[in-house]
């Protein structure tokens, strides 16, 4: 007998792990096809310029060159890089870019692409293309871009204002009038890069029948397919997106980064074409986390009650819009969600600049919000003389209350448990006594932050769709195939989905073959984003498995002369409940079914639901007040994950998220020269992804409060690890040095500056 409890909660090894540890797993860059050409972009050195001429004659005559695309022969249709327009309804990003234009809007924008018989030939030809630019004034700062007289980046628009996202609830003016304390603060966040170890890559081929196949490490294959069909005016049935193993995504690999360019080359040359970015290109040519300038004002009473919250954020979109409006919406809602406040006002001003394009990255606008909000709450706590944790406990949403973002009640709620477990493990109450343990030049401090998150974007308004489906098929011999639209970014979601099917079918997981990563044979799915895959696809898989089981039991009922409700499927047998003698092998049942030409195939669409996950993070740091260097002495992260179906996989998601959060907080930033708009650290040498030797100890606490809408109670865990880290660390640093760092990343230099800015401090070296 195999029951759900044999599978759900077990840390089974990942399906793809053996292929990956032996080097057999194929990534996009590893693909080789007969006759394959190699592509290379020529990218603009200017952040803002008009292109007056492009001479490809020398390049075209070079050996091995097959095709060169530029604005003069392949402008392509107007499109948006964002995936949302393919699968969502409601407020959509406007289309604002072409494959190639006669104007470039950020440094690194593609100006031409070459296909040639070797990488070296393509590179040499790209170098030989003569482009004449007429440089235009560059603006990389959103405030400057909004000022009158700023260079206009999209000339068909009236200004560089790309969009405004307002969220206005209640009457903030009345709220501030009522306030006994008003705090007004400004924060600046950084440009963090996903920095997947795999540089982006893409391959495409067109078969003689007109089927366009695109191989891409993209986390949203179905939306990409629909977008390519629209761009090339092809029926969706003639576009196939195949996803090889993905070398990391973290939100940054939705939408279109290379696909339409490479597809155009494949269509033009009628040969397979592959493009592999180099590391510098990946830094400048793919999206990064939005730098946001946040002006926040809170009004409160002496007891800590919030009377008004007013946030004005300026969001640096870069040269094109992509998902900036969606990111801004999520950003805004994360100020206005967890803590009670009747009068809330958020304006998200999305601004075009000549900075590189910003986009989706794990947390999608929320890490920026929490960096500001969680610090302001600590300042308020100090102001009203409350423990920061106690203030939050007074203000935060409680079980059963309505989540203001989704409009739905919190039907599962583990935040109180996260706080209890995290604070206990951390020794929150004893933190002040530990301060005395540090000796000069080290100073100790503690801080915390709370999080409410989502499992997907369903119910978040704006008509966002979380469509997904799954099929579970019994073959004639009783073996099982499960097809899902889910994309496994390395997260392990396919392994977990198989456990869900296994639990539902009473079959060992290894008996279930997983079909995924190919739009031609998988059901539709909105893509891997918003911590949704396990939740949404898991529901679909579970329902499809239940549907398939129901069909098996129906056939078996006829054979066993029993009502299907009295039958059970487990361990490859169908038997009558309570009468173990009356049973049939599954393979016998499926064979009979096939003879009746009834393939047993369960199908399901996931319901539109959401399940907020929660977290409480506690950090203790020591700051060297002579150098600003930081040591993290302890980090306790308690996460409500609903139910950990594969515990080790969930731990891996949270640990990896927290470490990216540490990088965000302390050292990662893509430097953009304000004069030229060029990226100054487009390498792993100068962009500081931390190593195993740089890691502090991190203790994870998994809180399992099952959600009634989640598959076996599970909630999303992809993003929550990252989101609260910068806020928690900022609070710990402030506690240590007595001043706040309001700009990310909180480098040693900024920490030292904050310390020395307080009169009477610093200088005693």
């Amino acid at each position: 007998m195999i029951t759900p409890k044999d599978v759900v909660g077990r840390s089974l090894p990942k399906i793809d792990a053996p292929a990956k540890v032996t080097g057999r797993a194929v990534y996009t860059a590893d693909l080789a096809m007969p006759g394959m050409l190699h592509a290379r972009f020529l990218r603009s050195p200017y952040a803002h310029a008009r292109i007056t001429s492009i001479d490809t004659s020398v390049a075209e005559a070079m050996p091995g060159v097959s095709a060169i695309l530029t604005a003069f022969n392949s402008p392509g249709p107007l499109f948006t890089n964002s995936k949302w327009d393919a699968t969502a309804m409601g407020r959509l990003p406007h289309k604002d870019q072409h494959l190639f234009d006669l104007k470039v809007r950020y440094a690194g924008e593609p100006v031409a692409i070459v296909a040639a018989t070797s990488v070296a030939a393509a590179e040499a030809a790209a170098e030989a293309i003569m482009v004449e630019y007429e440089p235009l004034p560059v603006v990389t700062d959103p405030m400057e871009a909004l000022a009158s007289g700023a260079p206009l980046i999209h000339e068909e628009r009236e200004s560089n204002l790309a969009a405004v996202l307002p969220i206005h609830v209640g009457d903030v003016e009345a709220g501030f009038a009522e306030a006994e304390i008003i705090l007004e603060r400004k924060f600046q966040t950084s440009r963090q890069k996903q920095a997947q170890t795999e540089p982006y890559a893409c391959a495409a081929a067109v078969d003689p029948d007109g089927l366009l196949t695109v191989w891409t490490p993209n986390q949203t294959p179905h939306p990409v397919r629909l977008k390519l069909a629209e761009m090339f005016d092809l029926p969706a049935s003639k576009v196939r997106v195949v996803v090889p193993h993905i070398g990391g995504a973290f939100g940054g690999r939705g939408g279109l980064m290379a696909e339409p360019w490479v597809a155009t080359l494949a269509m033009k040359t009628r040969r397979p074409v592959k493009l592999v970015f180099d590391r510098a290109e990946d830094f400048i040519g793919t999206e990064a986390r939005h730098p946001i300038t946040i002006n926040i004002k809170v009004g409160a009473r002496r007891d800590g009650t919030l009377t008004a919250l007013h946030v004005q954020s300026y969001v640096n979109a870069g040269g094109y819009l992509t998902v900036s409006t969606n990111v801004t919406g999520v950003h805004g809602n994360n100020f206005l969600r967890l803590y009670h406040c009747e009068n809330r006002w958020f304006d998200g001003t999305v601004v075009y600049t000549n900075a590189p394009v910003s986009g989706a990255y794990r947390g999608f606008g929320a890490p920026q919000a929490l960096f500001a909000l969680e610090q302001v709450l600590d300042e308020l706590a100090e102001e009203v003389g409350l423990d920061p944790l106690e203030l939050r406990q007074r203000l935060m949403l409680k079980a059963g209350e309505i989540d203001p973002w989704t409009g739905l009640p919190l039907v599962s709620y583990g935040l109180d448990k996260c706080i209890e477990v995290g604070a206990e493990a951390f020794g929150w109450k004893e933190r002040h006594t530990r301060k005395a343990e540090s000796t000069y030049p080290w100073r100790r401090g503690s801080g915390m932050a709370l999080l409410i998150w989502v499992s997907g974007t369903a119910c978040l308004g704006d008509g966002l769709m979380e469509g997904t489906a799954a099929t579970v098929r019994f073959n004639i011999d009783g073996s099982v195939e499960m097809a899902t639209g889910a994309t496994d970014l390395g997260t392990g979601v396919l392994t977990t989905l198989r456990q869900i099917a296994s639990a539902e079918l009473g079959l060992p997981p290894e008996k279930i073959h997983v079909i995924a990563h190919d739009t031609q044979i998988t059901p539709i799915d909105a893509g891997a984003h918003a911590s949704r895959s396990l939740f949404n696809c898991g529901n679909a898989v579970r329902m499809a498995a239940a549907d398939a089981r129901r069909q098996v039991l129906e056939v078996a009922g006829g054979l066993l002369e029993a009502s299907p409700e009295d039958l059970e499927l487990s361990g490859g047998e169908v038997f009558v409940k309570g009468a173990p003698g009356r049973s049939l092998p599954l393979a016998h049942v499926t064979r009979v079914a096939y003879k009746k030409v009834t393939e047993v195939q369960g199908r399901a669409n996931a319901p539109q639901a959401n399940a907020p996950g929660f977290a409480a993070h506690f950090a203790e740091v020591e700051v060297n007040v002579e150098t600003g260097e930081l040591r993290i002495l302890r980090y306790e992260a308690a996460h409500d994950v609903g139910r950990a179906i594969n515990r080790r996989i969930v731990e891996g998601q949270l640990e990896g998220g927290i470490v990216q959060g540490l990088g965000y907080a302390l050292c990662e930033h893509v430097h953009v020269d304000p004069e030229t708009g060029t990226v100054q650290n487009a390498s792993f040498m100068d962009y500081k992804v931390q190593t195993a030797a740089d890691m502090p100890p991190i203790n994870l606490h998994m809180i399992e409060v099952p959600d009634p809408n989640g598959p076996f109670g599970a909630k999303g865990a992809g993003e929550p690890g990252l989101i609260p880290v910068a806020g928690a660390l900022a609070n710990a640093i402030a506690d240590a040095i007595g001043n706040r760092v309001r700009e990310l990343p909180m480098t040693a230099e900024r920490v030292l500056h904050a310390y020395n800015s307080i009169q009477g401090q610093g200088g005693e070296v």
């Binding site: 002579e626 430097h671 030797a693 230099e749 070296v765």
Partner: protein, 288 residues
Amino acid sequence: MALPEFTYLRPGTLDEALSMAAAHSGDAKFLAGGQTLIPILSMRLARPAALIDLGRLAELEYIRIEDGELRIGALTRHRAVAENEEVRAACPLLTAAVSQIGHAHIRNRGTLGGSVAHADPSAEYPLAITVLGGRIEMASAEGRRSLPAGEFFLGPLFSALGPEELVTGVAIPLPDPRAGWSFREMVQRSGDFALVSVAVLLKLEDGLVQEVAIGVGGATSIPMRMAAAEAALVGRAPTVEVIREAAAAAAAEVDPTDDIHASAEYRRNIARVMVRDALLEAVGRVGA
């Protein structure tokens, strides 16, 4: 990106290597471990007509202690120096410096000659050799010469090395075994080039500083001796107050510039803290 095209030459002897360089009139580059040169070529920051692979010049791979000098051949890999017990006993400062170069994989391949010739002001070898008073030995088809480190390093990635000239090794006078020493770096991430690095070698006589060499890297355009800071110490007892004074002098002497990793002002502050700590550490090691 693919490497640019070049003629590949693999001499069997030093003389052969030098005449190859002469034949290319300065448009050839010597390839040793490649840990710096290969990425420079990949990024197309250099396009030499020829690459002279020194991999077979076993004659330049040596570590010798003779005539009061530590002599290391240009093709000696960092790992060999870092793990050499004689070097550790005779010149622990150098062991400490070389052990902090990059990570193990880089130390497996990288060589002394490559590091010295690249003349990165934040690299370990240049600073250590400067403070230890070493000489850089060079050769070309014209002949051999050597220069003290202070005359060899001329600016960021810029040295006295001629275009057809090869670093063949270094000669470092053995420090007094009772001398105290320190080699410290501040890095943003394990294995990185230092924001600021400091090396100190210090001798006491009757409780007074008899000789001291203080060098700073990262906050200067070359690995640089801190003359004023040294002068502030010589002939005085190295009390905390005196050391602070010397550190302040060093902070006034360094010549940092702003870059994306740190401002000049921050580097200056850090240099002061690090010089102080390095001096305290060196004093603590005197006679040990």
